[in-house]
Structure formats: C-alpha cells, structure tokens
Point group: C2
C-alpha cells in the first residue's frame, strides 16, 4: 500500500536509509531487522548474520525519533547550568557527561545565564525533546523560585537532580558539598593563625553560604577564639564581584586580616584587588577560597581553598539521575553530601619567598 518500492533502492532523496530498506535488502521483514537490532526475541543464526551484513554494508543507523515515538525513550539528559565561566562548572559538566555517555545517554546543553527567560526556554525545549531527566543548577532555585518552573514541564514526570539541596516535596535529589564542614575547616585554619577580623565574600541569603558561615563560627568557638569582627561582604559570584568586594574592604575595613571568598574565582578577584591596592597576601591580609579549581595552584601566592571533588559531583549527579530514570531507585528525594578537604597554601601561610 505504501509506495515503498518506488525508490530505486539505497537512496530515497536525501533521507537516510530505513529499516524497511535494510529488510528488503536482507530479504526479511522489518520486524526481524528490529529484532536483531535490539537483540530481542528469537532470530535464526543465518538470518541474523544476513541482516548484520546488510547493516554493516549500508551503514544503516536507526532513527532515534521513530524509536522514541514507540518506546517513549530518548536517552537524552538535559543540563541546565547558569554559566561555564567558573571552571568548577566545567569540571562538574565533564563528570556528568562522562557518566552519561558511559550509560549510553547524551547530554543536551542549556547554559542559560541568570536569565529567567533563557532558563524557561531551555526547559521548554527539553520537555519537547522528551529528555528523560534533568540536571539543574540554578541559582534561582536557591531562592525557591524555579522548582515551579521545573516540574510542570516534565510531563512524563522525568526525574530531576539538583546541584545543591534536595527538594523533598518534588522528589528532586540533591547533591552538595558539606558546606558546614568546609566553613569549619576554613574557620579552624584561620583561627589557628590568629585572625580575628575576617570577612566573608559572598551572599548571606544563600543557604550554603549560611552553612559555611555557621561552620566557620563554630570552629572559632571550638578553638576558644573570639572574632572581633565577622561580616559578609555582598558580591557577585564572579571574579569581578570578588575584586569589587575586596576593593571595598580595603577602603572601608582596612583592619581586616583575612577574607574568605565563597568561591575561588571571587578569591582570585580579591587577590587582584589587594595587589592593586598594595596589600600583601598573606602578609597584610590572608585569602581563602572555596572549590579548589586547578587555577588556584597556578597563581602566586597559591590559593588556600576548600577543595571539592567536582568531577565526582558531576558524575554522581548523572548517576543518581540515571538510577531514577532506569527505575533502580524511586524512593524519596536523596540527599548526597560530599566531603572536601582544605588545601592549605601560600595565600594564608605565606612563606613569602618571592617577596624578599
């Protein structure tokens, strides 16, 4: 009934070859070809070989769209990140991509900036593409806004994992670094060094910033040291943000002896600002970062920072997601907390060998 034989054979316009073509060439039915393709059902040795040969010879590749339509599967994962400016995101992305590819999934990119519209558009697109799950890391999320955007689009209620806290209500698994621990480690280090006036560069509203803040204070308490001053200097989570915050500190709070930036790139910005201001690090002021990007080892002084396992985080993110997609887990929202470790380097210790 279908004019399937109308074409001469291998070629149908500029469309690729179909399972029908393969079937015809192998002298079997499409159903059979499908079986050898998917290794499902019984297929005779000889038939299987014949089909395999034709596939090999023609370079036939099954059409994912058609397959999706019937199986409802795409093996696609959507990734929503605000930016790749911060290398830590690149590392996480890499981890996620590695895990995904190993499991036969592909990652579709959604780098959306801080723009609500772009994020919305990406999510819509993902929904249309029938991605089977979403990896999200949206700063907005922390402000409790974007979950609402996230869920409605997942019509086949595709699972979501979040780089950050889990969301029990919506069964969104979360994986995050142990922020309290991080703050604590940094705190005891700085306490040990006797710093009494320190400033956190970041944003207090962030739940994880708050937790680091917490750990930090506790470390001081445990160390029996009192902080003459501890405040949060608000800044964008970018290098420029760190630079500006540090500049303000130089001007307005010159008695500060240490700053704790909430990520490494802000710390780098701060380092620059101090350099420009003629402040020696760590001589005049100590600097600590968070994340442990490679970069911290290349600059001088090397950056003391709380190193998080970024690749593993990305890998876990994808692994958790795929566990849900493939039904290996379907319980309540999981919360994975990974540990980091403090890397003590010159920006707080300062052999200052290069300075004399």
């Amino acid at each position: 009934m279908r004019a399937v034989k109308s074409s001469k054979g291998q070629e149908r316009g500029d469309r690729g070859m179909t399972i029908q073509d393969v079937a015809r060439l192998a002298g079997v039915s499409a159903a059979t070809v499908s079986r050898v393709l998917n290794g499902s059902g019984y297929v005779g040795e000889k038939t299987r070989h014949k089909v395999r040969d034709v596939i090999e010879a023609t370079g036939y590749v099954p059409n994912a769209a058609a397959r999706t339509l019937v199986t409802q599967r795409t093996k696609l994962i959507g990734l929503v990140f605000p930016t790749l400016e911060n290398p830590v995101y690149t590392e996480i992305l890499k981890g996620a991509n590695d895990a995904a590819m190993d499991a036969g999934y592909s990652v579709v990119l959604g780098i959306v900036g801080e723009d609500e519209g772009a994020s919305h558009a990406a999510l819509l697109r993902f929904a249309a593409l029938q991605v089977e799950g979403i990896i999200a890391s949206n700063p907005e999320y922390h402000r409790r806004k974007n979950v609402e955007h996230l869920t409605p689009f997942m019509q086949r209620n595709a699972p979501i994992v979040h780089l950050g806290e889990p969301d029990v209500e919506h069964s969104i698994d979360g994986i995050e670094v142990n922020d309290y621990e991080g703050g604590y480690e940094v705190g005891s280090h700085l306490a040990r060094l006797g710093h009494e006036r320190v400033i956190i560069i970041g944003q207090d509203e962030n739940i994880y910033v708050a937790r680091r803040h917490d750990g930090f204070r506790t470390a001081y308490r445990d160390a029996g040291l009192t902080l003459a001053a501890l405040r949060v200097e608000k800044a964008d989570f970018t290098r420029a943000g760190g630079y500006e915050a540090a500049s303000r500190i130089v001007k307005e709070l010159p008695e500060t002896t240490a700053v704790f930036a909430m990520n490494d790139i802000m710390a780098m910005g701060a380092l620059e600002a101090f350099e420009h201001a003629g402040k020696a690090v760590p001589g005049d002021i100590a600097v600590v970062g968070f994340d442990g990007i490679q970069l911290g080892l290349l600059i001088r002084p090397r950056l003391t920072t709380f190193v998080i396992p970024s690749w593993e985080i990305g890998h876990t993110l994808a692994a958790l997601l795929i566990d849900r997609i493939e039904g290996r887990y379907s319980g309540p929202a999981k919360s994975v907390i990974v540990s980091g470790r403090l890397a003590i380097r010159e920006s707080t210790l300062g052999t200052r060998k290069e300075r004399t």
Copy 2:
C-alpha cells in the same frame, strides 16, 4: 478506531498530553491545533484563541520526536570536542552554544577525549539522533584520519564545520586562527627582545604548529636577526606536557633564552617547571603562550600570549553551520581565518617588580 478516548481526559498514564487531547479539549481537529502551533495556514480568530487557551491551561508541549518524524528536522547540533580541560575549548563551546540557542537549536555534547572509539560512538549517536549538523574539533582530523569517520554517518548529509582547516573535498567549512600571523607576531616580539635561542613547545606534525613556525621564522628574517637555534620540543598539549617539555629544556638545552608554547596551558606548565628549576621568568628565560585564556592574566608573571577570539570562533562555527543547515549557504567549503593579537605581558617583558 484508535482507543483514544479511553483515558479520562487530561492524563494518559505517565505520557504527556498530545495534540489530540488539546484538539478534543478545544473542540477542534488536531490539524487545526497543528496550524496554530506552527502559524501555518488559515485559522479563525476565535478558534485560534480557544486553542491557545487550552494549550496555556494544560501546559501542552509538542513532542519533538513525532514532529521530527514528519518534518525531518530536529534543531539539534552535535558537538565533538576532545576535551574541556583547556579553557579555550570552554569559551568556544560557550560561543557555539549561544549562537545555537539564539537560532533555536540545541547542542548535544560529545566530549570524546583522544579515544577513537568514543569519538566513533558519539558520531553514531549523533547520526541516530538526526542532528542537523556537526561541529567538530578533533585532533585526529589534522592527521587526516577522521573525516572518513565523519561523513558516512551523516546520512541526510548533514553539514559539518571544523575548528581548524576546511575540507574542500567533503565541503567541510573550517574556521581557524591566523596561525602564520600569530607565529609572526610572536617572532617579531622575541626578535625585538634579541632572543636567539628559542624553542617551540608543541608538535611539528600539526599543520597549524607548522604555520606558526613559519611565521616565526619569517619574522626573524624580516627583523634581520638570525636564530642561533630554533627547534620544536615535542609535548602533549596539556599542562603536564608543557611542564615536562620545559623540564627537559632546562636539563638539555640550558642556553635557551625563550620558549614559545603552542597553547597557554602548556605555557603555564612550562612556567611551573622553570619555577621549580629555579629559572627566573623572564630573567633567565622568556615564555610566550598561544590562545589568550583569562588565566594568563591571573598568574605572575602574567603570560605574554597571542590572544584569539575564542567566543567569536565558537559563535562563528555555529553560525556557519546553521547557515548551511537552513540553506542560506550551500557553496564550496568556506575557510574563515580570524585574527588574533599579541598581548605583551610580564613573561617576556618582565618589570620583575616582584623579584627584588
């Protein structure tokens, strides 16, 4: 005939809602819904509104797989990169993604390392997904191997653009930096400084390395200076590769006064090696990089480097591809050559203010 009404209404198991559901809810036919969805054909004012309302209310999102099956379009672009380790790739990726998203396309990731198998798998996957085009940057390609892998998979002969040289035979557009110019600029800079023993860190077989080499030599000739020595020290294009090469140089060719690394991360590695060996940069030896990643401004000494417009390169890559996809261009392989500019910084000039 189809038991489409069997479900109660909005919900059909965990499948999303379909165009049929919308049609039924709006009291029109699927065809009409399709028309308002795509703005094709005539639709009455009232009808259009009714349909729009239902779509809005239900949050219906059309199924891309089904649409693809009939339109043969996916608005998907496959991206094959060897790594994201080098920040320059991240910047290019960002440029490509931005251009793609603006044009309504999504990028599917294929970070494949140096592994032939992974690359092959990614390409197969892309073919299955019916990506409409491919952005490739495969080192293998330079060795004239992978084009063969690339083309057969593109059954609908999806266009390919290459980060590197074009391929006239296969109509693969190429965009690359003006390597000759880069080499020349670096050459004249180093010549002006009077360096007569310099080593290129990289690989001579690379066509672009060869071109930089060329430009470099010419610059010296034009400057009327003779090089007492110029050779290429083989190295992996990684930080470790740069480190090792530089270490070898320190040991075996201590009279060298300048090195020209073929990318910034190798230059960083070299910087580290020299630091460990107690060689002052630029006092004992000058270092020049290539790419102009941000990082070069954060380290001390700041890295002199040939800055390429990475974001723009990525953007152009995607733009060229989309031009072909949408039929705005279908001529022979284009070759886009972009210029860079030499950023002269402390690793060659050396105020050396931090050293005394």
